[in-house]
């Protein structure tokens, strides 16, 4: 088997094998379990980086497995899949370290890490899916493997959140399935291709295709938590912090956003979608979501819930970028897929640190936490400023390109939305920073579990991951001109989508 077949397979299989192995391990084999986890994450990352090099040279990485008649399971690496795959691979590695530290001594860790690895498998499968059926398969797998993580704590609240999560995501999956089957009845096999695969269909099918668009986009919009399908996300925050961090800032919502991107560009084709007239409504819904999420975030006292509503708002920047027809808007949306991921994971890591170290779960409990945990709070600050879109952070790059893209597309009404959203972002993040840095501690911490020892404000495994991701937020912002930055890579994608 040649390297071009093997690499996509290993990328997906590394975490699958790790997950299945971990299920078999007894609870107390902590060292072996962590070793398997980290080894799989490193192998996966290496495969992805190797493929990046090849895709740059226009090499095709593709693995096929016979499945339904005329419908293979296809794993294929192109520029767009590698954008998502790289993000997931890097953040999986980081989160694995964090989770090992976070779950130190907690019960049922084999189950947790097993499903955690399966989730990453599903995410990688979504990233590398080469046709609709493969995409759907991994999309459903993601739903089913994240459920045990959401209900991991087994409390009544967690089970209720899990039920809500499943109700939303399974219904979304059903919509997606309906759309996918319909497309197959119209087109035969649907392989992803630059510029879409619809051009051959005559104008008489356009009403049907519009209906299909609504079905499939609604299907993936559930995971992307687009209003009105966002209800599950804030509830799912009962999950442990590493789950919220990786799965609800990266894997699940990003799978939805990536689905929107994939369907619009490589199934419908962005120009065809523009001709159908479905992009402007998409941009409008994304705008509503951006504002609604920010407004709701303002009034949340629970830190993780505030972050969850912020996620709802921020993920729709990606959808908005798709809705703005034109290469510049595409760049803004796609690059936010990465930027939002590293910013939000930083914030969730920090929220987890506050909860694990001091028992802080609410914004009102954060007075003076900057003095007690300066490094964590510094990382949080970088993430928050990035979300607001401060210059020299990743968030600024996103908003700059989205704004330009809106003007390019002649959709000037998007600018006030971006502006209002930035103001709202500032309104719900700056008070947190103010409390943390400028107020003094009010009474005892709610539940101090880890004592500070010199510079070590909390366990190293909890501290280093957010510092690394915060540094990445600044690095991607400052070095966005390099061709290997997320921005450089999305420019490559935009060029391949528009200049065929």
């Amino acid at each position: 088997m040649s390297e071009t077949v093997l690499l996509p397979l290993v990328t997906v299989a590394s975490s699958l094998v790790a997950g299945l192995t971990i299920f078999m391990l007894p609870e107390k084999r902590r060292g072996l379990r962590s070793g398997i986890n980290i080894a799989a994450a490193v192998i996966k990352l290496a495969c992805v980086l190797w493929m990046i090099d090849g895709v740059l040279a226009e090499r095709v990485y593709e693995a096929r497995l016979p499945f339904l008649p005329g419908n293979d399971l296809v794993l294929r690496a192109d520029a767009m899949s590698l954008l998502f795959a790289t993000l997931s691979a890097i953040l999986w590695l980081v989160t694995t370290f964090y989770a090992i530290g976070y779950l130190e001594g907690a019960p049922r860790r084999s189950r947790f890490f097993g499903f955690f690895s399966l989730c990453v498998t599903a995410t990688m499968g979504i990233a590398l899916a080469g046709n609709l059926v493969t995409f759907f398969l991994f999309y459903e797998l993601l739903t089913l493997t994240t459920y045990p993580l959401v209900v991991h704590r087994g409390t009544e609240k967690a089970l209720a959140a899990g039920a809500t999560y499943l109700a939303y995501t399974l219904a979304g999956g059903a919509l997606l399935l309906a759309g996918v089957v319909w497309l197959h009845a119209l087109l035969g096999t649907v392989e992803f291709a630059h510029g879409g695969v619809m051009a051959a269909l005559g104008p008489e099918t356009h009403p049907q295709l519009t209906a299909v668009f609504v079905l499939v986009i609604a299907g993936v919009a559930v995971k992307a938590a687009v209003v009105p399908f966002h209800g599950w996300l804030p509830q799912a925050m009962v999950a442990p912090a590493p789950v919220s961090a990786l799965l609800h800032a990266v894997a699940v919502v990003k799978a939805g956003a990536f689905g929107v991107v994939r369907l619009c560009y490589d199934v419908f084709g962005i120009e065809f979608a523009a001709d159908l007239g479905v992009l402007t409504p998409l941009a409008a819904i994304a705008s509503v979501t951006i504002l609604w999420g920010s407004l709701r975030a303002l009034v949340q006292d629970d830190l993780k819930r505030r972050l969850a509503y912020s996620t709802i708002s921020q993920v729709s920047y990606v959808v908005l970028g798709v809705g703005l027809f034109g290469p510049v808007g595409t760049i803004g949306g796609l690059v936010h897929l990465v930027h939002q991921g590293i910013m939000k994971i930083t914030l969730f890591f920090c929220a987890g640190n506050y909860a694990e170290t001091l028992g802080i779960h609410r914004v009102t409990e954060m007075d003076g936490v900057g003095a007690r945990m300066p490094l964590t709070t510094a990382a949080f600050t970088v993430g928050a400023l990035g979300m607001i879109g401060a210059p020299a952070t990743a968030g600024f790059v996103t908003k700059w390109y989205l704004g330009l893209g809106a003007l390019d597309a002649g959709m000037g009404w998007v600018l006030p939305v971006l502006l209002a959203s930035s103001l709202l972002n500032a309104a719900y993040f700056l008070p947190i920073l103010h409390r943390a840095w400028f107020r003094s501690q009010a009474g005892e911490w709610p539940a101090e579990r880890i004592r500070a020892v010199g510079r070590r404000e909390t366990a190293w495994l909890l501290l280093l991951p957010p510092l690394f991701t915060a540094a990445s937020v600044v690095a991607t912002g400052l070095l966005s001109g390099l061709s290997f930055s997320p921005l450089g890579w999305t420019m490559l994608i935009a060029a391949r989508e528009y200049l065929r």
Binding site: L65, P66, F67, L68, P69, G70, L73, V133, F136, L137, E140, L141, L144, Y147, P148, V151, G154, L159, G162, A163, L166, L170, A171, A174, L177, A178, V181, W182, H184, A185, L187, G188, T189
Partner: protein, 493 residues
Amino acid sequence: MTPADLLWILVALPLVAGLACVLLPQRAGGTLSRLVVLPMIVLAAGVAVAVADRGPLAHALGGWAPPLGIGLRADGLAAAMIAMTALVCAAALLYAEPYFTAHRAERERSSFRPLAWTLWASVNALLLSNDLFNLYVTLELLTLCAAGLAALGGNAEALAASLRYLLAALVGSLAFLLGVALAYAGTGTLALPELAARVAADASAPVLAAALLAMIAGLALKTALFPLHGWLPPAHGGAATPVSALLSALVVKASFYVLLQLWVGPMKPVSGDLGAVLGALGVAAILWGSIAALVQAKLKWVVAYSTVAQVGYLFVAFPLLEGDSAGSAFGGVALQAIAHGLAKAAMFLAVGTLMLACGRGEVAAICGLAGRQPVAVFAFAIAGASLAGVPPTGGFAAKWLLLEAAWIAGSWHLAAPMIVGSLLTAAYVLRVLRCAFLPPANDAPSQRVAATMPALALVLALVALVMGFATTPLLSLVQVGAGGIAAVAVEPR
């Protein structure tokens, strides 16, 4: 010996094994059961391979060619069903040994073995029959074995359920016999190939329409198509676990198989608008069965109502078995019959293990069993995924093809309930899984269970899972000798 000789061996060997189980002492019967299971699986696989390679197999018993003698014939669908039957029967027979030991039910065990082996023989004979009268006889034999097995639970409830089942099944047989008699009156033949030719020559004869109606009514009652399903949940829910697996996975499939073969074969010209009626009843069965499964308090009743719903998927295919959608619909219904058989047997075996481990039969009683019986819970989850049509299971492939057929035919009213049914299936499967993951109650009794029991459930569930990847060869197998049914388009349209 030619491959065609495999056909009579497939009927004779289980019959001999059943007789031997009656004559031999308890212990020797158990050993014999365990020993003969493997060759049966090999034989069934041999038939499937032979049919896939050389086309349909035919064998005339005693060298007497039909219509004088009895002819056995295996086309692709029959071969695939024989293979599924072999796996399910083998698992049920092996499962029964520790099951009856755990229940201290020696008497039941000594009745189970001969009945189960005879049931295996009669299912194989039915699948291989090539004329109406043999179909009737094998159906009847199957019914008697099944009713006897259903009575094994021993308590008054199980006896009442099995008696109800027997009555319903006999009424169904009589209706089918009436249809057979009418068909014979109309055409003068019982052999399926000749029947096909004569029906095609005079499709408008009212006696043929009456014959088809009587056959459909009888077979639908035996297959428990909504609203004729009332007998099924108490019978399948009250029986001993290995029996439930046989009844749900195989017995309802046998009568369905007869209906399907007649529908796409000899009786096709007379079917008229009946397909739409069967499709509508199928839709009702999907919705009614799934919702009923969602509210059952007892585990086995959840699984039994799930059978009512999954049988609905089989009937949804009938209006789609013509025109452009025929290929996908036929492939879908064949895969659904096989995938449901495997997954449902796995689910019953898993549920039986869980019930044994916690000593009770309610859904709420299995709290905490995810920790103590992980293999059984895992098997249940995979089987449930296949029933709900989650990729990449065999159930997904089946439902995908059925949905595609509905879409090609423009039948929204069939496609939408299928998708809703999948969601409801996920809901009742997850309701059980959720209980398994709850923390255990403090006073929960815990009984040790032989490791082979959950292992057998898992094996069947994994076959249902892997089947998703063998869709292409399976589809080309079931299309062997499938008459006028077009092949599923393998190339993109």
